[in-house]
């Protein structure tokens, strides 16, 4: 199934190359900060990406080298409405969590606040050496509301996560790689090629198996190992009902590259 592309504001770019879609946060003069309108448009994009079989992998990045994203534009926070309406907002980071397909964050410059939350919603994070990561909300009088307190401790020790969350201080790409927050540091001139290579290699695998692998890793974060292991075995069995698993076996026997169709 493929859908018509939704209309997008200038601040959000979307391109598809092969089976890899790239979502670009495009507000470089404002460190790619997010407005409520961008959040709403992201919802449309997530629906499109999930339900368009030509898209198998998503890359999330920001325009320019100054920032991946600095999170919410604090100056337009009031646009969300009352406190209760803010609580019930369409959250630009949370909505990325709904993407079923593998998603890679390509990070340059500041990756802070809600920007860090968006990066945390991705499955794999690559950055340049000059990227900087921080959860600075605490300096303003609150903590992150879409993942920083819940997902940061999954990529570093609880002590390190609390150091970031309670001081609001930024860490370097080197430190982020050491904790596992960043999966690979690439030189500025190589980042685009490395991310594209990773994305296309993932996209060449069987889409149903890839989506289920992502799903099962999520499940491992939210259930006990016993339940997770049982769930894993049932989706493994489901994979073997797909045409792609038959193609994979045939290609293996015939010593050729498999052609996966997502069925």
């Amino acid at each position: 199934m493929n859908l018509p592309l939704p209309e997008l504001p200038e601040e959000l770019r979307f391109e598809v190359a092969g089976a890899v879609a790239t979502i670009t946060l495009n507000r470089p003069a404002k460190l790619n900060t997010m407005t409520p309108a961008m959040g709403k448009a992201l919802v449309e994009l997530v629906y499109y990406v999930n339900n368009t079989s030509d898209v198998r992998v998503v890359v999330l990045t920001g325009t320019g080298t100054k920032a991946f994203s600095a999170g919410s534009d604090i100056k337009v926070l009031d646009d969300y409405g009352s406190n209760w309406e803010l609580r019930n907002r369409v959250d630009y980071a949370r909505v990325l969590w709904q993407i079923r397909k593998p998603m890679i964050a390509k990070i340059r410059g500041y990756c802070i606040g809600g920007g860090l939350e968006m990066a945390l919603m991705c499955d794999i994070r690559y950055s340049t050496p000059d990227a900087r990561f921080g959860a600075g909300e605490i300096k303003l009088g609150w903590h992150g509301g879409a993942g920083n307190t819940q997902l940061l401790p999954r990529h570093m020790s609880t002590g390190k996560a609390l150091e970031m969350l309670l001081t609001g201080d930024m860490i370097s790409a080197t430190e982020a790689e050491k904790t596992g927050l960043v999966d690979r540091i690439c030189e500025e001139t190589e980042l685009d090629a490395k991310v594209a290579d990773l994305a296309h290699r993932i996209a060449s695998n069987a889409p149903i198996a890839s989506e289920l692998a992502k799903h099962l890793v999520r499940i491992s974060m939210s259930t006990s190992p016993d339940v997770g292991l049982m769930y894993e075995n049932d989706t493994f069995s489901y994979c073997f009902t797909t045409e792609d698993s038959k193609e994979g076996r045939a290609a293996f026997v015939e010593k050729r590259a498999p052609q996966f169709k997502g069925r």
Binding site: S82, W84, N88, Q98, R100, T241, T242, R263
Partner: protein, 264 residues
């Protein structure tokens, strides 16, 4: 006031209560793909309109509340993987009910089976007439329900009763459903809808933030470890106490008058 498109699923607003009406009585309100889309389209309005504070869900016609999915057109959901991913396409009518943030009361009569039972279980409070017949009969056709049947029913009636429903696939009568706790009240057929509406309107008169938080915390009681949920409850309670409505409630109590809640 009436809004929304006329069709097989209808959406009406009466004061601060939304009515979701299954209106395909000749087919026991069996859900088609078109009805599924309609149902999902109403949920956004219900969740995002501050003036809607509670919901009543019911089915038209003598035969029953809902017979579930129209099995003659399941193929329209696409291939197996696409059908599995219907949640992400806004194409699961029971999931749609589950996603309603406002307290939801189901008025049940006659057949309440398959996906109909899933919609009932996804509601917060269930009122039934004595002639209501409940059934999770999917097992007879070679599958089990996929939109909450094995999970929500088990939470509602416990594992033994749920297994009887799910593995036997037989009809359960209203009095047995009441005994199991699947329905909260059984009232005469001609009164059941009025009773459901009365409950929903009573909820709509409460402070909306506190009512929604209460629904949320009851959900959390079913999905969180108790120690965490108790801590969460206390933070949610503290949040409620910061609202204007909580101040109004305290003032009204002291002044011995009914409170006037604004949802702030």
């Amino acid at each position: 006031m009436v809004v929304g498109n006329p069709g097989n699923v209808r959406f009406e607003r009466h004061g601060n209560t939304a009515h979701l009406i299954l209106d395909r009585p000749e087919k026991i309100n069996a859900m088609t793909v078109v009805m599924d889309k309609q149902m999902n389209s109403y949920i956004y309005e219900i969740n995002n309109n501050m003036d809607i504070r509670s919901v009543v869900l019911y089915g038209k016609g003598e035969k029953g509340f809902c017979a579930g999915s129209d099995l003659t057109e399941l193929d329209e959901y696409g291939n197996n993987w696409e059908y599995r991913n219907r949640f992400d396409r806004g194409l699961d009518y029971a999931r749609a009910i589950w996603l309603i943030k406002k307290p939801t009361v189901a008025s049940l009569h006659g057949w309440c089976i398959g996906g109909g039972l899933e919609m009932a279980c996804a509601s917060d409070i269930r009122v039934a007439s004595p002639d209501t017949k409940f059934q999770a009969g999917e097992i007879r056709w070679g599958w089990h329900g996929g939109s909450g049947q094995t999970q929500l029913l088990t939470h509602a009636v416990g594992p033994g009763n749920a297994s009887l429903f799910l593995l036997n696939g037989e009809v359960v009568e209203a009095d047995a459903a009441l005994r199991m706790g699947l329905v909260q009240e059984v009232v005469p057929r001609e009164q059941v809808l009025d009773r459901a509406i009365a409950i929903a309107e009573s909820i709509a008169a409460k402070a909306p933030i506190a009512a929604q938080m209460t629904k949320h915390m009851v959900r959390m009681a079913q999905s969180m470890p108790l120690e965490v949920a108790l801590l969460y409850e206390n933070d949610s309670f503290s949040y409620c106490m910061t609202t204007e409505d909580a101040a109004e409630g305290q003032k009204a109590f002291q002044e011995k008058r009914p409170p006037n809640f604004q949802g702030r």
